[in-house]
């Protein structure tokens, strides 16, 4: 038995390896796209998508932390994105007199993350006591509540300061004043601050936080809780603490992405952050592979570009989009195809890496039958 159990040591841990992939793909993608932009190879409409792509990658990666790593199905991610978006816009307006664009953008993104993080704590406390389907339903409800609250928030700014109200009548601005948030119309007259480079940096930051967290004692505890709660508690780890860490970190990162997203447009309405958006982000995570960070990056990028690339199908665009999704899902879940890719990657690993995947010998399975 002991000889069977021998296996080669890997000299790099699995998280470091997948982290290198994630960073590598992001950097390569940024460099290639930047070159293509300067060479004029990318259409204007696609160029307009570059910042949203970065925002969606950050959203997908941060949702993967909650859904994949922590194992809690959250259907309200767009809610945190919305809080980050609008608090970010308000911050950017408040600090509009500051000299550098990027200073304002950084402040807006940090404020967006902060407010979304606070919302994450407030929502996390009741929600993380629930399990499975209940948690999913309640996060969905919270996402919708956030959007509906934003629908009735009016914010104006004049030299006396900020005015906040739940109706237009509640705001009395002086001559120089202007509205920042207009209820269902959302933010209007936003100064565009976001750039592709800023988006790239935010994706890198998101990856840095999520990948570092995964490869730490906190991350191990989060995954332990996901894999076997009773066992995790039996070694002294208490569930809510770690679920909370993942949930709030996810919320903060979603808020930052929301601020980046909003500051890419001159107008942003709350309706942009509805249930559909939450589901879209979830689709990125599911298609990229639950718990697979590199997968989230690729699928968020591809699926955001796809509707743009399918423009030629005009009327049939969303239909084609749906069909592509279904095909990809079927393909990735097809056992034959899975076996094929598994075999290919095994061969690849055998050739190029010193890691071996340990296979349970047949005998052990027989032994297992002997007990209950």
């Amino acid at each position: 038995m002991n000889t069977l159990m021998k296996m080669t040591k890997s000299n790099m841990n699995q998280y470091k390896r997948s982290a290198l992939w994630s960073y590598g793909i992001t950097i390569a993608g940024f460099v290639i796209v930047s070159i293509m932009v300067s060479a004029g190879l990318i259409s204007n409409s696609l160029q307009g998508q570059l910042v949203p792509i970065c925002a969606y990658i950050s959203l997908a990666v941060s949702l993967n932390l909650v859904v994949g790593i922590s194992g809690e199905l959250s259907l309200g991610h767009a809610g945190f994105m919305a809080i980050g978006a609008f608090s970010g816009v308000i911050a950017a307006t408040l600090f509009q007199s500051l000299p550098f664009l990027w200073v304002k953008l950084v402040i807006a993104i940090l404020v967006g993350g902060l407010f979304a993080g606070v919302a994450g704590v407030i929502i996390g406390v009741p929600v993380l006591r629930l399990r499975g389907d209940y948690l999913a339903i309640v996060t969905l409800a919270f996402g919708e509540i956030i959007r509906n609250v934003l629908n009735v928030i009016y914010v104006g700014l004049d030299e006396k300061g900020l005015q906040v109200s739940t109706s237009m009548d509640g705001i009395h601005l002086s001559e120089q004043g202007s509205m920042i948030l207009n209820g269902p119309m959302g933010a209007t007259g936003v100064t565009k601050l976001s750039t592709f480079f800023a988006g790239f940096l935010l994706v890198m930051f998101t990856l840095f936080v999520v990948l570092n967290l995964i490869n730490s004692k906190h991350g191990r505890a989060i995954m332990a809780m996901r894999d076997n709660r009773i066992a995790a508690e039996s070694v002294g780890l208490s569930a809510t603490n770690f679920k909370m860490t993942a949930f709030v970190t996810g919320a903060i990162l979603a808020g930052m992405a929301g601020a980046l997203f909003a500051l890419n447009y001159s107008t942003v309405a709350p309706v942009k952050f509805n249930f559909n958006t939450s589901i879209f982000i979830l689709v990125f995570v599911v298609l990229g592979g639950i718990g697979n960070i590199t997968g989230s990056i690729i699928s968020a990028a591809v699926l955001t570009i796809l509707p743009e690339a399918l423009r030629q199908f005009s009327d049939y665009r969303m239909l084609t989009y749906a069909i592509v999704l279904i095909i990809v899902m079927l393909a990735t879940n097809n056992p034959q195809l899975k076996a094929l890719t598994a075999a290919a990657s095994k061969q690849f690993k055998a050739k190029f890496s010193r890691t071996r995947v340990y296979k349970r010998p047949q005998k052990a399975d027989e032994e297992m039958g002997g007990t209950k």
Binding site: M1, N2, L4, M5, K6, M7, K9, S10, N13, Q14, V209, N212, L213, S216, K217, H218, G219, R220, A221, M223, A224, D227, N228, I230, A231, A232, E233, S234, V235, G236, L237, S238, T245, T355, V357, Y358, K359, R360, P361, K363, A364, D365, E367, M368, G370, T371, K372
Partner: protein, 283 residues
């Protein structure tokens, strides 16, 4: 809350219920279980379970299938809250504690139906057991500060040391779920041991192991007790193992303790032969 300290009274009590009145008699007991019981609906799964264990003894809990042995472990780890009775760990009443707190107070266990973190590596499983011994903040985790590096390096070394107990350091990076059955059981013991317990509960540690693995395991359990100076209580159907390494044995039948004593006493106890040992031989 005032925790009852172990005074003269409890010590006499200890002698009265102890599996091994002579051994450890001068030391205060580490685990005093008093009248522990639980009902599931109408079924009394465990009743009036009273034993006392010294700080470095290896004891066995045996009995036929469905006798309530695993339920006792679930009570001791607060997976179930007892309907009756309580137990004292190192003199501290555990009433009102939950699973997490009881582990932090010093009770660690393995599971009859193995519960590893299957998708994580062998080393990580041990590191999860070490969690409370690894010191850095969330900030350290997010930014991989020097504190993080130092603590993780120490944890890595400690994990390898623990894995060495069962010669498992060679597959520290294998997926826990891909290990053979016996190795999974051994890993579970190491994960429990990593939490630095005072009492280690092993639920059928030899189940699914072949005779040579079992004899290695017996040696290892004794070695663990000697090195870590902890109390080990194990459930096992393999009578060679139980009679070979346990210094005291309690026999459970229909949730009730029917005998306590040394292996010799248990083997010659007519009630035990009738309820368990005899039947075992027929099978």
């Amino acid at each position: 809350m005032i925790f009852p300290t172990v005074g003269v009274n409890t010590l006499t009590d200890y002698k009265g219920h102890s599996l091994l009145p002579e051994r450890d008699a001068e030391q205060r007991p580490v685990l005093e279980i008093q009248g522990l019981g639980i009902d599931f609906g109408g079924l009394t799964a465990v009743n009036d379970f009273t034993i006392t264990l010294g700080p470095t003894e290896i004891s066995g809990l045996i009995g036929p299938n469905g006798a309530g042995k695993t339920t006792v472990f679930n009570l001791l780890t607060k997976v179930y809250q007892p309907t009756r009775g309580t137990f004292y760990l190192d003199g501290k009443d555990t009433a009102g504690m939950n699973t997490v707190q009881v582990n932090q107070a010093g009770i660690a266990r393995t599971f009859q139906n193995i519960r590893l973190f299957d998708k994580m590596t062998v080393e990580e499983n041990v590191k999860i057991g070490l969690h409370r011994d690894i010191h850095y903040s969330l900030g350290g985790a997010l930014f991989h500060t020097p504190f993080y590096r130092k603590a993780e390096k120490r944890a890595h070394e400690r994990a390898l040391e623990l894995l060495d107990i069962f010669d498992m350091a060679d597959f520290a990076y294998a997926q826990a779920g891909s290990l053979p059955y016996g190795a999974q059981r051994r890993l579970e013991i190491l994960r429990a041991l990593a939490t630095d317990p005072k009492v280690l509960l092993l639920d059928e540690p030899a189940a699914g192991m072949n005779p040579s693995e079992t004899s290695d395991l017996m040696e290892a359990i004794t070695k663990i007790r000697d090195t870590f100076k902890i109390c080990i209580l194990l459930i096992e159907h393999d009578m060679n193992l139980v009679m070979g390494i346990c210094e005291g044995i309690a026999v459970l039948n229909f949730g009730q303790i029917i005998a306590k004593g040394t292996p010799q006493e248990i083997q010659s106890n007519p009630q035990v032969i009738e309820a368990y040992l005899g039947r075992k031989k027929e099978a």
